[in-house]
């Protein structure tokens, strides 16, 4: 009897809980967000910047996506989006998606498997309609083709098994595009199936989105509209947030020193201080003197006192790591005990002594100092670490001069190899080795700026990619990462931490801890009145 009553009570409570919860989420309202500058275009597939992904992700859907309520992206947090279900075949090379039916593009045309095929054909350069730029070509090194088996089924055919393909498809960078809309239109007036429709972009002024009333997901989105105000001056936009002009800041726009200031002035603001999976690193021109000399290259990489960088740049908040974002927020980075054994990550004094010896072996010394140029972008987050580097290199007989490149010309300069050492920032779209290794370290990848290329490492990259046992894969990834540091492929300085702040009325927002590109669908966000 008692048990029965209890159960009944629980049932009643449960029955109440559901409507209660539904009641708690208030629909309506316009969310106001500030943006740091006019995005280069509205076409996510053509850009590699959060300036585009953060506002425009809400226009689209993917096949699958990262659960927007889970902060750490991993293969385990992938949920259905336009695909309701998916399965690998026996050979582990064919991934078949069952697609949602009845979904409509914002212009009213139906969404079908053809659109899926079209999108990836375009990414592989197989379609007549060509994008101006294709920054993530390297993601699909292993994709043979995509087929539309029926209106509601599409299959990805891979050259070799690649369990992490799902991780790539779940990124904010992997939306499904409509077949019938030209790339130009996608840049200026993007059409998607997502929870919000694009209304207008005014350069330097605003980007506006409204609720998609026909959204296929029941009851979503909650917001009526999202208004982005573009504010170029950082001081102005932070002050505006403090003055409660905005509900949400741009992603990771609040630096660690600023965070203290924001918290003091707006004590109610909810700030998420997270690793953004953006690393500060060096690109070393190994084709020209003096860094064609392996000794000099290695000496520079191990001489860096990374903890000093971290302390200065972020009050000790940035993270020490290799190519992969370190744990706990990163899923694949070397743990501290493994990292400590990686070349250059030991005791700073010992490392400097070692580096000095290497420099002497290369013919340099206190009386024969090496003059080099450190090039970087003319933006504070690039320049500041470069200034510290300049100072630290003095200890190993290198007199470095800073060459500041106007921001617009940075990649052009890098592409021309018109530098000796470059201080660079690398943003990682998905916290997965398949992205990091193939984008930045693989032979022939466009974003492998220094042209580091080792066939042996390529084999290892492919091997880890094909592994099903993720724990075994992780061990191999650590080994690869450590070797990349030893090879001075792209010496890492730190992994950045930044904060995204929201007013307390913003509900249902989860800020991702291992990527700033995957958590902006905005369909679950509501504003407390």
């Amino acid at each position: 009897m008692q048990v029965k009553t209890l159960l009944a009570g629980a049932a009643i409570a449960a029955a109440f809980a559901i409507p209660l919860q539904a009641y708690a989420e208030q629909a309506g309202g316009t969310m106001r967000v500030y943006h740091r500058g006019t995005p280069p275009s509205g076409s996510i597939h053509e850009e590699a910047t959060s300036s585009t992904v953060m506002p425009y992700m809400s226009v689209f859907n993917n096949l699958v996506m990262y659960d927007q309520a889970v902060a750490k992206n991993s293969l385990d947090s992938i949920v259905p989006d336009l695909a309701t279900d998916w399965s690998w075949d026996e050979s582990k090379t064919k991934l078949t998606f069952k697609l949602r039916s009845g979904v409509k593009w914002h212009d009213g045309k139906p969404f079908t498997a053809k659109d899926v095929q079209c999108t990836w054909d375009m990414l592989q350069g197989k379609t007549k309609a060509r994008m101006r730029k294709n920054p993530r070509k390297s993601w699909y090194w292993n994709l043979d083709k995509v087929t539309a088996d029926s209106d509601t089924q599409a299959t990805f055919h891979m050259k070799q098994p690649q369990p992490a393909l799902l991780a790539l498809l779940a990124s904010g960078y992997s939306p499904v595009y409509p077949c019938h809309v030209s790339p130009k239109k996608m840049r200026t007036n993007p059409i998607g199936t997502g929870p919000f429709k694009f209304v207008a972009l005014k350069q330097n002024e605003s980007i506006k989105f409204v609720k998609n009333e026909d959204y296929w997901k029941e009851g979503r989105p909650y917001l009526d509209a999202i208004d982005w105000t573009i504010i170029k001056s950082r001081s102005t936009r932070i002050l505006a947030f403090v003055a409660d002009e905005f509900d949400l800041t741009f992603t990771a726009d609040v630096s660690v020193p600023l965070l203290k200031d924001v918290k003091e002035q707006a004590p109610n603001a909810v700030c998420h201080k997270v690793t953004t999976n953006v690393s500060t690193n060096l690109i070393v021109n190994r084709d020209a003197p003096p860094f064609d000399n392996e000794q000099v290259r290695k000496a520079m990489a191990i001489a860096m006192d990374r903890s000093a960088f971290i302390k200065i740049l972020s009050n000790g908040e940035n993270q020490l790591g290799g190519a992969m974002l370190p744990p706990p927020s990163g899923g694949w980075g070397m743990p501290a005990e493994v990292l400590a054994k990686a070349p250059g990550y030991g005791e700073p004094d010992e490392d400097v002594a070692k580096a000095q010896a290497m420099m002497k072996a290369a013919g340099y010394g206190p009386d024969n100092r090496l003059a080099v140029k450190v090039s970087t972008r003319n933006i504070a987050i690039y320049r500041d670490p470069a200034v510290i580097l300049l100072d630290q290199l003095k200890a190993i007989y290198i007199d470095a001069e800073l060459e500041v490149i106007e921001s617009s010309n940075w990649h052009a300069t890098v592409a021309r190899k018109d530098y000796q050492v470059g201080l660079n920032l690398t943003g990682v779209g998905v916290d997965d080795p398949d992205v990091v290794f193939f984008e930045n370290y693989a032979c022939g990848s466009q974003r492998n700026y220094t042209g580091y290329c080792s066939q042996e490492m390529m084999e290892l990259f492919k091997k880890q990619s094909s592994m099903t046992d993720q724990d075994a894969r992780r061990k191999l990834v650590w080994e690869i990462d450590s070797r990349l540091q030893g090879d001075v492929a792209r010496p890492m300085i730190d992994h950045r931490v930044g904060a995204t702040c929201a007013q307390p009325r913003v509900q249902g927002l989860t800020v991702m801890v291992n990527s700033s590109y995957n958590g902006w669908r905005f369909e679950d966000i509501w504003l407390k009145k």
Binding site: R234, D261, Q265, A308, I312, L313, V387, L402, E406
Partner: protein, 299 residues
């Protein structure tokens, strides 16, 4: 408009009328132009600090130190330290040198170019004059900061290029003033006399016309000093200007103003004071110089 050539030595002595000793003259001037005297002192202070920055600065202005990042004033760092743990006082002292380089450098460069163009234009006349006048019209029609921006963007960020970028917009102003002076001077009896005794045109231009245009030139140049320093600050704020690790006041101010106004106000206050004092001094000096050298404006 015809402008009478000004004998600046005579004007100077008139200003200090009847006073014999040099010191006495200086004292007389200072009493007549107290604001100018303040300006001169400020300017000399800037000059002194800039020249002897290496000796005056207690520390290496580019030495970073993780331990003293954002340390407040007092103790080891009299005015505190910036984010990179660099000594603020030393950076401000070295910044005086940068500001001098920008102020004096761009003024001298702009004036020299302007004088050459103006002198040639006013002396040669004809086609050369017509074309340069149109170019000057064009340059004057473009806002100064826009010109400086385009120049800074095309030259790339560095100290030298910033100086050039700031100096270019000055050229048309100087050229115009020098030209109109030259125009009226070339009709003067002493120029005619020089011609009569067979002096070459170039020699006349350099020996007789140029010295007589000095007064308006000095007036223009002193007025330019302060605005050059401010233009650099604006360029820095807009992301151009003099790059790190140079200790430019403009950059120090524009960057710390964004990040540290509350958490480390000393990073905003001290460079702000430095820049305002320097510009203020230059402006006061410029005003006084104009009053002294330009009799039409003298009270």
């Amino acid at each position: 408009m015809a402008i009478k050539p000004i004998d600046h030595a005579a004007e100077l002595s008139k200003a200090g009328a009847g006073v014999e000793s040099r010191l006495g003259k200086a004292w007389f001037l200072a009493k007549s132009y107290p604001l100018g005297a303040v300006g001169l002192i400020l300017f000399l202070g800037l000059l002194f600090t800039g020249i002897f920055a290496d000796v005056l600065a207690p520390m290496d202005p580019v030495k970073t130190n993780a331990e003293t990042s954002l340390q407040g004033p007092g103790g080891q760092h009299m005015l505190g330290a910036d984010m990179m743990g660099r000594d603020l006082l030393s950076r401000i002292i070295h910044g005086a040198r940068i500001s001098l380089a920008v102020g004096l450098g761009s003024t001298i460069l702009g004036c020299s170019l302007g004088v050459i163009v103006g002198l040639a234009s006013g002396y040669l006349l004809g086609w050369f004059d017509l074309i340069t006048q149109r170019i000057i019209d064009i340059m004057q029609a473009l806002p100064l900061l826009v010109m400086a921006l385009v120049m800074a963007a095309s030259l790339g960020p560095s100290l030298e290029n910033t100086v050039i970028a700031i100096s270019i917009p000055l050229v048309p102003h100087v050229a115009r003033v020098i030209r109109s002076n030259t125009l009226s001077l070339r009709e003067m009896p002493f120029v005619e006399a020089a011609k009569a005794i067979g002096m070459s045109e170039t020699r006349i231009a350099v020996k007789h016309v140029l010295p007589n245009t000095l007064a308006p030139l000095i007036v223009l140049a002193t007025a330019q000093l302060g605005s050059a320093i401010l233009t650099e600050a604006s360029l820095s704020f807009l992301g151009l200007g003099i790059p790190e690790p140079h200790a430019s006041w403009g950059r120090m101010l524009s960057e710390s103003a964004a990040e540290y106004v509350r958490t480390a106000p000393w990073l905003v206050i001290f460079p702000g004071i430095a820049i305002s004092l320097a510009v203020f001094g230059a402006n006061l000096l410029g005003d006084a110089v104009r009053d002294i050298l330009d009799p039409r404006q003298r009270s």
